[in-house]
């Protein structure tokens, strides 16, 4: 049976890197007696795959991994057992059965992710009409940023990867909150800092600090042209 686990990563746990989060959950599976399946071979490993790694420094309310289990376990029981053996800052949100088909794994269907970016002002404040600035930002024919990877640096147009940006509720004069939904997954993965920095450049402002919080990850159940994003969590059902 295939299962999708959703969890939160908050507070100081943002300093735990992706590989260490994977190791953490492998050990948690044993502590929590989750009947997880192993691959065959001389050194079997747990069948576990993460939808998308979260960078060091980011918090999240919507992280996912898929596992295979050898016998059913009720969602509520699994949740309880996992949350009994976790640490402050990592909480399991849901444990649901998903389709066994390979094309439905979190990694393959991931199409978008939403973020809450909190930007602290440097010298001056955010007292300006952010909404119209955002509209103007998105109305540009193209939004070109410098994308750095370990191997190369290139100028890319990220406009089509930005699905939505709006000003968040908690904005005030000292902090600007941007809620954004960006493309994610293997085809086009846009990181929120590129968007935040491009927007600051556009409005010619400087920030003293940024906080990035992933709020959810989505699959696209519509088409490429008419996207219909639904949370990865909504593609499964509770195990009773």
């Amino acid at each position: 049976m295939k299962v999708r686990v959703k969890f939160k990563k908050e507070g100081s746990m943002r300093f735990i890197g992706h590989l260490d989060v994977m190791r953490f959950f492998q050990k948690m599976m044993r502590r929590a007696d989750i009947p997880i399946a192993f691959s065959s071979g001389f050194s079997p490993h747990m069948i576990m795959s993460f939808a998308s790694p979260l960078g060091i420094g980011l918090t999240s309310a919507g992280e996912y991994f898929d596992i295979e289990i050898t016998e059913p376990i009720p969602s509520q029981k699994a949740l309880q057992q996992m949350n009994d053996t976790t640490v402050d800052g990592i909480a399991i949100v849901s444990f649901i059965e998903i389709s066994p088909e390979k094309k439905w794994t979190g990694m393959s269907i991931l199409a978008g992710a939403s973020y809450r970016v909190t930007i602290l002002a440097k010298e001056d404040t955010w007292e300006m009409d952010i909404s119209s600035m955002l509209a103007a930002f998105l109305a540009q024919p193209e939004i070109v940023v410098l994308k750095k990877t370990k191997r190369s640096e290139e100028m890319v147009n990220i406009k089509s990867s930005i699905y939505e940006i709006k000003q968040g509720m908690d904005s005030n004069s000292s902090q600007l909150v941007l809620d954004m939904t960006l493309s994610a997954g293997s085809r086009e993965n846009l990181k929120p800092h590129l968007v935040a920095e491009a927007f600051l450049t556009f409005i010619d402002k400087k920030a003293s600090n940024f906080f990035y919080h992933r709020t959810e990850m989505y699959a696209n159940v519509g088409s490429d042209d008419a996207k219909e994003l639904v949370s990865l969590e909504s593609l499964g059902r509770e195990i009773i």
């Binding site: 300093f15 260490d20 050990k27 948690m28 044993r30 502590r31 050194s43 420094g57 402050d88």
Partner: protein, 619 residues
């Protein structure tokens, strides 16, 4: 959740920020307001090394069992954070509460190897705690040291308020009770330390004075406080079955060097190898009951979620119920994706059977530690292993499909000649021959024999404590002798030779048998920038040499002398239970190439029966 001691900006700027945030599985959180005694245990090396050490986990567990104590941890900040903390004057903090350690009641530092001594000065400086015991005031923590290096604590004597000699399980409670009593009675720091001298196993260096002869050797060492004991007796748990063990060890987020459950099956060793300090200072040999270990293994695997378990002892093959234990572990781990990491075992039918069950033959290797190349020298060091035993072991293993052999030796042992060194290469060649005698069609490619040599360092409380060392160049030459002889062998392509650096060796030798005067060298080297000396890439021997010149510390005095029978050693005030006269007798036996039987074959009356337990009382 806790406020972290370091800002986001700092944490994002350093390598592996997870080293500094605590919050691991099984880390203990308590309410500081309800705690009488704050204790910080410190391993003066980087987090991943320190978190691999079982001793700290044992003490952490014992201390936190007490409702009136909150025990936390601290490690050496890595060089990147060290720099930032100095620049921004951030005080070193404990991981659990993220509170500065200078506000704690106790700072307990484990002394696992000599080359961490500069890191102790780092901990004190970053901790904003005065370096010298005598400079510390009422608000400063009591700095206490423990671990193997306390069997000669003298080079560190001025930096510590107390050294705990022996196994922590025995007297920690008495120490904490005395501390609480002192607080209740309003004792000052000095009065508490005076009280501490009455607790067995506690050495309070400020109450002792050393004087020296003109030739530099120790003339006298005695207490300057009337009731302080002249000798400090090592503390030992006679029956390990009664000793607590941490069934909920902390599980780090980042991969520690030992990322596994470590099950301590026995303490001490029956063998009596003459170079081995652990073999003498941890006497008598005591095992845990096998049924207890089976239970501990299950509980610890469940409580940590680790995917591997290993057994810890000085010589696992000598644990009487080893077969029962390992077969039980294999059963317990079956189908759960849990590996059993085998200790190095004497090669026989049993060990080959378990190795074939838990290891991949193509990847795993056989390990032997003959320590010396020739039988003569193996007799000198009292290593019972013979060439016949090694060859019959590898013969069986090669027939069973193994192709990799690792051999560990020491160079620079007392009485060693070039012929002894060359025998190392010859032994490897014989092993290779043994492999190539197997018909070609039954072999799986070539065999791989790896020889590793380290340089022997005489340690306190061993029969070799009287032995001289050699100069750097001589160590290098000895390694060269082995290298050349390996090159001269027919099967040289199947033999790989690794050797250790020599500079570290002589310095470690100096620290190991140093006295109180060596402390100024440690300070001078630290102030020149020496830190993480056990990391070869950061070890700066030239700075140590400068420091020796400036502080007039004569390396040769500490390392090159053959010590006389009459010489009083800086560590002689410690009573490890094994008599100095026994060690001397063993030193003479070594000169005469005579073997001493192991503790189970025959008692050699070393003195360790005084502890009233273990192998001494088995039959």
């Amino acid at each position: 959740m806790n406020q972290l001691a370091l800002s986001d900006e700092i944490l994002m700027g350093v390598e592996k920020p997870a080293r500094y945030i605590g919050n691991e599985i099984n880390a203990v959180k308590k309410n500081a307001d309800e705690i009488a005694v704050r204790f910080c245990l410190c391993f003066p090396d980087v987090y991943e090394i320190g978190m691999s050490h079982m001793g700290i986990q044992i003490l952490y567990d014992i201390l936190n069992q007490r409702d009136d104590v909150w025990c936390e941890r601290a490690y050496s900040p890595w060089l990147d954070l060290d720099k930032v903390m100095r620049e921004k004057k951030i005080p070193l903090f404990a991981l659990e509460s993220q509170a500065p350690i200078r506000a704690f009641d106790f700072l307990g530092i484990t002394l696992q190897y000599e080359m961490c001594y500069t890191n102790i000065l780092q901990i004190l400086e970053l901790g904003q705690i005065p370096r010298y015991s005598l400079q510390r005031g009422e608000e400063d923590p009591i700095v206490i040291g423990g671990g193997p290096c306390v069997y000669n604590p003298e080079p560190l004597a001025e930096f510590f308020d107390i050294f705990y000699i022996g196994e922590g399980e025995v007297m920690l409670d008495a120490l904490l009770d005395a501390y609480r009593e002192s607080k209740t009675k309003g004792y000052c720091r000095r009065a508490f330390l005076e009280l501490a001298t009455t607790i067995p196993g506690l050495y309070v260096p400020m109450f002792y004075d050393a004087t020296y002869f003109e030739d530099g050797t120790l003339a006298d060492f005695k207490p300057n406080l009337s009731h302080a004991p002249k000798t400090i007796k090592k503390q030992v748990i006679p029956d390990l079955a009664t000793a607590p063990y941490p069934l909920n060890p902390i599980v780090p987020f980042i991969k520690a060097t030992q990322d596994r459950v470590v099950l301590e099956i026995q303490r001490g060793c029956i063998r009596g190898c003459r170079f081995c300090q652990a073999g003498m200072v941890y006497r008598p040999t005591r095992g845990r009951p096998v049924e207890q270990l089976k239970r501990f293994a299950r509980d610890m695997l469940k409580n940590t979620g680790h995917e591997e378990i290993s057994l810890s002892s000085l010589s696992s093959s000598d644990y009487p119920q080893l077969q029962a234990l390992i077969y039980d572990l294999i059963d317990a781990c079956k189908g759960k994706g849990i590996n059993i990491s085998l200790p190095s075992l004497r090669i026989d039918t049993f060990s080959l059977d378990v190795m074939s069950k838990v290891q991949d033959r193509r990847k795993s290797s056989l390990t032997f530690a003959p320590e010396a190349g020739s039988q003569r020298l193996r007799n000198v060091v009292n290593k019972g292993l013979t060439e016949e035993m090694i060859l019959s072991g590898v013969g069986q293993a090669f027939a069973g499909g193994w192709t990799k052999v690792k051999l560990y030796f020491m160079l620079g042992l007392p009485t060693e000649t070039d012929a002894d060194m060359e025998e190392i290469a010859h032994l490897a060649e014989k092993i290779a021959k043994c492999y190539y005698e197997i018909p070609k069609e039954e072999r799986i490619g070539k065999c791989q024999i790896t020889i590793s040599t380290s340089f022997f360092i005489p340690k306190p409380f061993t029969p070799f404590q009287w032995s001289p060392m050699f100069h750097n160049q001589e160590y290098i030459r000895r390694a060269q002798v082995v290298k050349n002889e390996v090159q001269a062998q027919l099967n040289r392509k199947s033999i790989k030779y690794n050797w250790h650096e020599a500079d570290l060796t002589v310095l470690e030798g100096l620290m190991a048998r140093g006295d109180r005067r060596v402390s100024k060298l440690i300070i001078a080297a630290y102030e020149k920038g020496c830190l993480f000396d056990s990391w070869s890439e950061y070890f700066q021997f030239d700075l140590w040499q400068e420091a020796m010149e400036e502080t007039n510390i004569d390396l040769d005095f500490y390392t090159m002398r053959t010590r006389e029978k009459e010489e009083r050693f800086p560590w002689d005030f410690i009573d490890i239970g094994v008599d100095k006269s026994y060690l001397w007798q063993e030193w003479q036996q070594a000169q005469d190439t005579l073997l001493t039987p192991n503790c189970r074959e025959q008692c050699s009356a070393c003195g360790a029966t005084c502890f009233g337990g273990g192998v001494c009382f088995e039959s």
